[in-house]
Symmetry: C2
DNA sequence: GTCTATATTAGGATAGAC
DNA sequence: GTCTATCCTAATATAGAC
């Protein structure tokens, strides 16, 4: 692997463990056994590294959120899609650990992040509307909007929330439980038979 | 107001606006028109200021979360209680802007914060169980646990989530909408007549 | 591309006079 | 209690040799 790429990999790892503000360029260079000068040869400053990482996150999550119009989704489809989104967020969790801080410091990222949130909402709404069309899900438009907003909130902050339980011990994020929490928010809106099915599968999954 | 108290007030204000990591002791002193030396006479370091602010937050929120056992709560009671909790969180929102970062840096606070989260969960569960006893709310134990966890997550991160919408322009947090979002999570579990009543009130409230 | 050495700066914190 | 002046440290970043 080329140095430029190694820098990105190690930076992501260190940022995720210690939090971006607590990782210095020197630490990154140390971890890679290269000199700080070398690091600055590849990236002219720390911001560039973060922007590069954010770009990758943006690219990956955008692909996952690109839902076909007018498709009929099943609850299982939704589950899978949700799981992939959670995995992506977990991979770049450093962004979420200190979200407001990072967005406050890097203007470029701020605008793009807002767009991703909007896409998340749209994708969620598309799926829910599809479930509603199929009469799997029952809800008024107002209920559905509130539900989608809650889902976006939960799926955005689940990794942070879960980490609160075990800061220090940097154990893995419990993604399955995050998906379960979102599903629990959807479940009460489902037709009884679909709800029973969903909760049954959920129980054994977490 | 005594200097010691003025420092706390101005610090809280600046932390909330700019984020704690972005506020220097010099800025605080400047804003107060006192010298940095004077500031350090009253608080031996920045951490002390944060610990003091966290102590106040802890005290205020603990009072709000102290629910009587075996009381019969109405949905309206819950609403009010929730609103007060949101106000408290908003007042000390700097803690939540960079939560993981702050908890990572200040060990003292970490443990106490975890305890507050647990209290939040217990208080929520007490109210939901009371609603269930009165047969206003219908849910299995597993559903209820997931619901309470979602509520704690939403009420913890609503201020941060809402701020994402308007970073830069430091407009106020839309607390009412936060309460509404929580209520939307509760609503589908309510008996139809209570649900209708709740959503009707909600609509005109936001 | 990579190194060593060093410049720059900013932020936290202290010393000592008043 | 308050001020001015200053120190210390850590982090970002650059210069110039190899």
């Amino acid at each position: 692997m080329k140095t430029r790429e190694r820098i990105i990999h190690v930076s992501l790892e260190l940022f995720n463990i210690f939090g971006e503000p607590n990782v210095t360029t020197l630490q990154i260079a140390d971890e890679l056994d290269i000199s700080p000068g070398n690091l600055y040869y590849h990236y002219k400053n720390k911001t560039e590294i973060i922007v590069e990482l954010f770009g990758r996150y943006e690219h990956e999550i955008t692909e996952l959120l690109d839902m076909p119009d007018d498709a009929d989704f099943s609850v299982e489809d939704y589950w899978l899609s949700l799981h992939l989104v959670f995995e992506c967020i977990a991979k770049y969790r450093f962004l979420y650990k200190d979200l407001v801080n990072i967005l406050q410091r890097y203007e470029k990222i701020r605008f793009k992040f807002k767009k991703i949130l909007q896409k998340k909402f749209d994708a969620t709404q598309k799926i829910c509307l599809s479930l509603k069309r199929q009469e799997i899900l029952l809800a008024t438009n107002a209920e559905l909007e509130a539900l989608c907003r809650n889902i976006v909130l939960i799926s955005t902050y689940w990794p942070s929330f879960d980490m609160l339980g075990h800061i220090g011990s940097d154990s893995d994020i419990d993604l399955a439980k995050g998906v379960y929490q979102v599903m629990s928010a959807v479940a009460p809106h489902l037709r009884p038979e679909d709800k029973a099915l969903l909760m049954e599968v959920s129980e054994q999954y977490i």
